[in-house]
Amino acid sequence: MSQYTVIQRLLFSPLVALAIVSCGNPASAQVQDPLAYAQARIVKIFGAGGMKNLHAYSTGFLVSPEGHVATIWSHVLDSDEVTAVLSDGRKFTANVVGAEPRMDVAVIKLTGDVKDLPFFELNDAKSASVGARILGLSNMFKVATGDEPVSVLHGVIAAKTKLTTRRGAFQTPYEGDVYIVDAITNNPGAGGGVLMSLDGKLLGMIGKELRNAASNTWVNYALPMTDLRDVIDQIIAGVYVAEKKPDEELAPERYNSLDFGVVMVPDVLFRTPAFVDRILPGSLAAKSGLVSGDLVLFVNGELVQSCRNLQSELGKLEGQDDLKLVVRRGKNLIEFEMRVPNKAN
């Protein structure tokens, strides 16, 4: 509709866009009623969880007429099968087809003879710029059950940026750009919901609940659909192979803890604390005095929050560098220094 495109051009202020809804329902040529269009394609997912702060529900959206549902990769899918409830109240069991944890995305498929379901055409997904009006649809707080429509929030894209993962502020493996929105979209169960433009175009998938550990604030973000759709398509086609992330290939891995004779505890968590499991006898570390149970806190002055962190810091070392470690042993902080050995190549 014309008013709407006018408004899209005038990106200077959110108040401009206030006018949109009050001036009638936004609708494009394809999508007469964007909300009804989107609601029909959104799926309520119920799965694992239910303990303490772990909600046992999330949101997804249909991406094929045969019942493929894209959703957030989370603990909710940690179960043999999950329950998916369509907008008309029909209840299906669903299995995980595949997932790319690094992009926080998973695809589940409704079981049984499923066909002709309404779905989002991923190729129609578009990107949006800062200031664009958005609607967020999700089953946050499990407010909707059965055939009840999920919650709708409105806002604008406040930024398109990376989540600062470097200092461990946000616990997310996702390193691409995300949409930051000014609506409180990321609530319990909202992950896997849909961020769309007012004319019903898919923009992104609402992310997890993310708290900034440093500022104790919560961020509302969505993963751009234009970045997700290839992965989703490949998972559906069964051809998806988790790629090594490009920046990981670029990250130097010249040294690791074993080069110093340090065996770290198994890296099982997203952020496994950097505890020393054991020290190889006769190694550099053994000579320096490191012992099993030490917790590595700093590598050459950089705070180390996890085993993964530690390994990437070690990877940056060059032969003959000075390696300075600060570890916590009991209540004491102890500093160790050693010379990085030359590596036979």
Binding site: N53, F141, L153
Partner: protein, 583 residues
């Protein structure tokens, strides 16, 4: 947080430089918003609790000062409150009625008869995506009584929110992404036309703390409309239950999975495993929908219910039962545990009663505000009432149409009422002190007052003779104290008819509901329930006629359990004088 206040400020800053770039549609929308806020702001109430502790929001709905808020706001604020309006004046206010289940309270601001009011909207017409303005006193910022405005959209409709550890339950409520924070409670939710569509009262708060999380909930104004007269009655109002529980079947149908045999729904034929097709006119597709419908009606309303059994569909109009026992709604305050008083050696003193201690005010804590002397008379404490004063006001208003029929107090002796029924047979009622009799044609029925527990004469009426006695008591002023007669509120007559004022009278186990037309004050009928959980004897007045200077119903229909009994035409009346009291 997006607040209109901020938006307006930035608008003022922007207009000079970008005015040429703005689409007229945008300007128009802004002007409209400003106009809406300006229009409704005077009706928004900032409530301050006693001693300046706590508080909340409210909204005026009538020029004589009636205002809506949340029960959980008034509970903490006391029977008299201080309420600020945006004229900068702090008004006294008194509690009127409370609905602890629905979290609604009516208060009355005092001192004016021309308060600005918010027009009531129709919350059933809301759509997801509609603009929604919340106004009120979040974080108790409005120390100058200028309410804060936040805006957002309707995120969901007909939401059901489970009771949160108490009896408080939000049914069929409006979900908004408008910022709702502590202090917004009880404040108005306006639509884009500045019409009151809800009362904000709750939010989904989890790990982010008790601040807006993008999911606020407002009680729909349509639910409150159903309860409005009940709330104005000064009572502690109860919600309803059908006396049945339902479950969702395999195919998404809603099935009765349990039903109380004492419920009217059961007496009208609803049984376990019946499919609930619709309830109060809404198709039933989930348990939540059932709970939503139940939640918006007061106890005692009749609501159409359609059920299906073996392919056959039946419509019935059961009267809804109360959801709570009286004690659940007005919990007595638990006495404070007596402090252990160890003796000098640390052992309990034996054989000595602990000395009661005077309550010592906590330093810095709220001090109870004494009621303003001017309005002290406007609060009357009584069991089952939030403020009995307002019940008396409403009762006196409604009962004028009874006193208008004439003074029957001197003729409380035996009554003889003769006439013909619609089959052509003659009838004669004889209403004496200890017994009532009725002849219709050659059939005769007698009802002893002391046998009311045993039989209800004539058969098929569920107690017409008892009902006739109740009418006589009503007209002769036999009900005197609040436990015997009180104003209930209003309801649609017989579930679908005109909205009528309802007065309740009680004599022993017998309860009557008296219906008064709201348009032209007149008694239009009454239902008599001889015993609890039994069918009503329903009498509907069609005409009144004057007999010896006193008006009596001269044409009335009697029916029970959904079936008409007879229509009576009164022709001849003898009312004997009140007998002298014999020692």
């Amino acid at each position: 947080m997006r607040s209109i206040v901020l938006t307006i400020a930035s608008l003022i800053a922007l207009i000079p430089s970008v005015a040429t770039a703005l689409d007229p549609v945008v300007i128009e929308a802004q002007q409209r918003r400003i106009a809406v806020v300006k229009k409704v702001a005077p009706s928004v109430v900032c409530i301050f609790g006693k001693g300046g502790q706590g508080g909340g929001s409210g909204v005026l709905i009538s020029p004589d000062g009636y205002a809506l808020t949340n029960f959980h706001v008034t509970r903490g604020a006391g029977d008299f409150m201080k309420c600020g309006l945006n004229d900068g004046v702090l008004y006294d206010a008194v509690i009127v009625g409370i609905d602890p289940t629905g979290d609604v309270a009516v208060i009355r601001l005092l001192g004016r008869e021309d308060f600005p009011v918010a027009p009531l909207g129709d919350s059933d017409k809301l759509k997801v995506g509609d603009w929604a303005y919340a106004m009120g006193n979040p974080f108790l910022l409005a120390t100058d009584f200028q309410a804060t405005v936040t805006y957002g959209i309707v995120s969901g409709l007909h939401r059901y929110q489970y009771p949160a550890g108490t009896i408080l339950e939000y049914t069929d409520c409006i979900q908004i992404d408008t910022s709702i924070n502590p202090g917004n409670s009880g404040g108005p939710l306006f639509n884009d036309n500045g019409e009151l569509v809800g009362i904000n009262g709750r939010g989904s708060f989890e790990k982010r703390g008790r601040v807006n999380s993008g999911a606020g909930y407002a009680i729909s104004i349509n639910q409150i409309k159903y309860f409005m007269d009940h709330l104005k009655s000064g009572r502690v109002v109860d919600h309803a239950t059908l006396g049945a529980t339902v479950t969702t079947g395999e195919d998404g149908s809603v099935i009765v999975d349990g039903i109380l045999s004492m419920s009217e729904a059961f007496r009208r034929g609803v049984r376990q495993d019946d499919e609930l097709v619709s309830f109060a006119g809404r198709p039933m597709r989930s348990v939540n929908q059932f709970k939503n419908v139940l939640g918006i009606y007061p106890k005692g309303w009749k609501v159409p219910l359609v059920y299906r059994r073996e392919g056959e569909t039946v419509t019935v109009y059961p009267r809804l039962r109360g959801l709570h026992r009286k004690s659940e709604l007005t919990p007595k305050k638990k006495p404070a545990p007596k402090p252990k008083q160890p003796g000098p050696d640390g052992k309990k003193p034996e054989g000595k009663k602990p000395t009661p201690k005077l309550p010592i005010p906590v330093p810095g804590g709220p001090k109870p505000t004494p009621p303003p002397a001017k309005y002290k008379h406007m609060f009357v404490k009584k069991d089952g009432f939030a403020n009995y004063y307002f019940n008396k006001v409403e009762l006196d208003r409604v009962m004028k149409s009874v006193t208008a029929l004439g003074d029957f107090s001197s003729v409380a002796g035996t009554w003889q009422l003769k006439g013909t029924v619609n089959t052509g047979d003659p009838f004669e009622f004889t209403l004496a002190q200890a017994a009532m009799g009725l002849t219709i044609g050659d059939r005769a029925f007698i009802q002893q007052v002391e046998d009311i527990q045993l039989e209800k004469e004539p058969p098929g009426t569920s107690g017409l003779l008892v009902a006739a006695r109740q009418l006589k008591l009503m007209l002769t002023g036999g009900f005197k104290v609040a436990s015997e007669i009180y104003y209930l509120g209003s309801e649609p007559l017989d579930g679908t008819g005109e909205v009528v004022d309802v007065v309740i009278t009680v004599e022993g186990a017998t309860q009557c509901r008296w219906y008064f037309s709201k348009d032209k004050p007149a008694l239009v009928g009454f239902d008599t329930q001889v015993l609890e959980d039994s069918d009503d004897c329903e009498v509907r007045f069609q005409e009144f006629k004057e007999f010896e200077g006193r008006k009596l119903p001269s044409l009335f229909l009697v029916r029970s359990a959904g079936r008409d009994f007879l229509t009576f035409r009164l022709e001849n009346v003898v009312l004997n004088p009140t007998p002298k009291a014999t020692e």
